[in-house]
Symmetry: C2
């Protein structure tokens, strides 16, 4: 057979959805799936009934526009983006199939093979994989408890003037849980303007916040039109309706719309209608407030168990939001060896940390997700992990 394109050689197999770890009795801290208990079943059901009773199901089953359903984009601007802290408009929003599609389109629109992309280290491995498939060279900027190291970022921008964009997850970063400070958010918006470099601000966990203090997104400080904001309903509403969105300057957004057209024409019309009627008939602010409580309880349960069962040689920062606890193992311990051991003998799984580093040079970290494991099983899972670590 004729050869595949070069991109095929660049795929990285991820450990997150490894079916080997789906054994019965396995306690999994692997995937960042939301807790199904938060899904608004009756509200989605109501949305469907509104569609049907209003005679709009027929439109919901027809083709729509590539950029997405106008009324949904309007609601996203007026309700969801406003709550997130961004003043924007329907014309600046395009619907995507989850935030992953926004990441993928960003790679396709900006990256030729060999181009440089700047990201955090560690960072979301789905983004690293996507950038790698596009042929990007990823340079990682160390991420601290208050976000990217700005000095290192500036030095990298100086050295790599031709870098295509900066990819960052300011809110409850995946995997570290780090929450970027206000100062750094402003600095990154400034650097984008000074260096003329787009910033891809990926914000899937922004509303899963346990702190009182709410920090505005980098996009809210965007004076140059350089910040491209990605978000999704996957963590706040449900991921099965694949509704994400891109909020960007119209000249940039137009390019994303072209790519969306050739990629899949448009996202599901019915999903968009359901999301629209959900937003129309519900209180978004109350929604995210209640979702926060669910994950706060889960985080607390995990942190208590870590304190109780894990040895002092393991260090971590208590996350102020999001889905993950990032554990640092003693330096001589290997993340993948540990996973082999815990899945084979202790029936507990997690994601090895090495995949989150663009440099792939750190193997003494692991990511635990508390978002989807049955709450009662969290202490037992951490106990087993502690036993494996002894």
């Amino acid at each position: 057979m004729s050869a595949y394109a070069t991109c095929v050689e660049r795929f990285i197999q991820s450990d997150i959805r490894n079916p080997l770890y789906d054994k019965p009795d396995m306690i999994s801290f692997s995937a960042g799936r939301p807790d199904a208990a938060v899904f608004p079943l009756s509200d989605i059901s109501t949305a469907f009934h509104v569609l049907f009773s209003k005679g709009e199901l027929v439109q919901a089953l027809q083709y729509g526009t590539t950029e997405g359903l106008g009324p949904l984009r309007e609601k996203l601007a007026a309700v969801v983006m406003k709550e997130a802290g961004v003043v924007t408009d329907t014309g600046n929003i395009m619907i995507t199939t989850g935030s992953q599609q926004g990441i993928n389109f960003s790679a396709q629109l900006f990256v030729n093979p060999g181009d440089t992309v700047i990201c955090e280290t560690p960072t979301y491995l789905g983004a690293l994989n996507t950038f790698s498939v596009a042929g990007a060279q990823c340079i990682g900027i160390p991420v601290e408890s208050d976000g990217m190291n700005i000095e290192a970022l500036q030095q990298t921008l100086e050295k790599h003037r031709d870098a295509k964009f900066i990819y960052t997850i300011p809110d409850f970063q995946n995997p570290t849980g780090s929450y970027m400070s206000l100062k750094k958010r402003k600095q990154i918006a400034e650097l984008a303007a000074v260096y003329g470099i787009p910033v891809i601000e990926d914000a899937p966990y922004s509303e899963i916040r346990f702190t009182e203090e709410k920090l505005p997104p980098i996009k809210s400080f965007d004076t140059s039109g350089m910040v491209i904001y990605l978000s999704t309903f996957s963590k706040t509403l449900c991921p099965g309706l694949r509704i994400g969105w891109i909020c960007a300057d119209t000249s940039i957004l137009q390019k994303y719309v072209l790519l969306k057209g050739t990629s899949d024409s448009q996202s599901s019309t019915i999903d968009q209608f359901l999301a629209y009627y959900y937003l129309t008939n519900s209180d978004w602010k109350a929604r995210v407030a209640s979702v926060r409580q669910v994950y706060l309880k889960r985080r607390n349960t995990m942190i208590e168990a870590i304190k109780k069962y894990l040895p002092d040689t393991i260090s971590y920062v208590v996350p102020e939001g999001g889905f993950f606890v990032w554990l640092k193992l003693p330096i001589l311990m290997d993340d993948k060896e540990l996973l082999n051991k815990t899945t084979a003998f202790w029936n507990v799984s997690f994601v090895p940390g090495s995949g989150f580093f663009p440099e792939k040079n750190k193997n003494n970290y692991i990511r635990l997700s508390y978002s989807n494991t049955p709450v009662d099983a969290i202490p037992e899972g951490i106990k087993r992990l502690g036993q494996a670590l002894q």
Copy 2:
């Protein structure tokens, strides 16, 4: 700002969804949208109620697997692919967001910029655009009333041994309506094996058949595992549930799954559940039989009007299926000038034919769609076109 990737320069603006032509009173023969009257509203509503009453809505709102919902893939293999004439298995099917995503993935998986792709001329412009964005050089093989010219195909394969794939629409081709003969189907499957070149068989219109004779797909003659079959529910069920699929050899399909993962993780879980319960509770064979009647009536209405109102200088072949009539204008007439004239003065629109030719050297063809125009308006629209042509 840093430059976009090279692919951005290769986007072609399509005339199909031009909002300028959405004037009131415009009779549009442009977009290949299905007739909303065929949408199975009550069956989709029933599918939703099954989901809700069985307590499965919660799974339908959660993440699913990248390759798609197992039970849906099983039904597609056992019911839909079987009816289409392909013996296949769940493991050979991946769900996509419409057939367009299958086309796009094919380009991404096989094409490096500068590579050669073989397609029909004329062919679906959404595919041409996607191939162009991937940097492919498209070589067009003339399409006759019984499909691709096989002699020209063979010569091209000899000359371009490094071509990456053959893209073909054997059933009621977009835009010509041509229906590939049994002989040519077998020949293409053979050529795929002999030359070791994948064949992308795009089959969105296969079930919209007005003839008694049903020809099996190229995939059914695939002995070498080289034929990649793409299909969709967009024309037979509804496009708003964005459910398409790829049927291919497992070793090839695995590559598509990797690409799907980095592209958008997965298609809408709820759409997949709705499609699954639709297929479980309905008679697919009866469904496609009734859909055929709707479009047969529409085709007949358009052909009668063409006979009545268009001058003899316009030639065409009566399509035996699908959504389109392909008109050949007198040689000195320009498709785009005609469109400017008909939209400005006659309130009737269509798609200029030049966009369907990879060589862009023919401008005396136009595509009329009869699929979505109100049936009663079809004769009036053709009458206006006839007046514009005088």
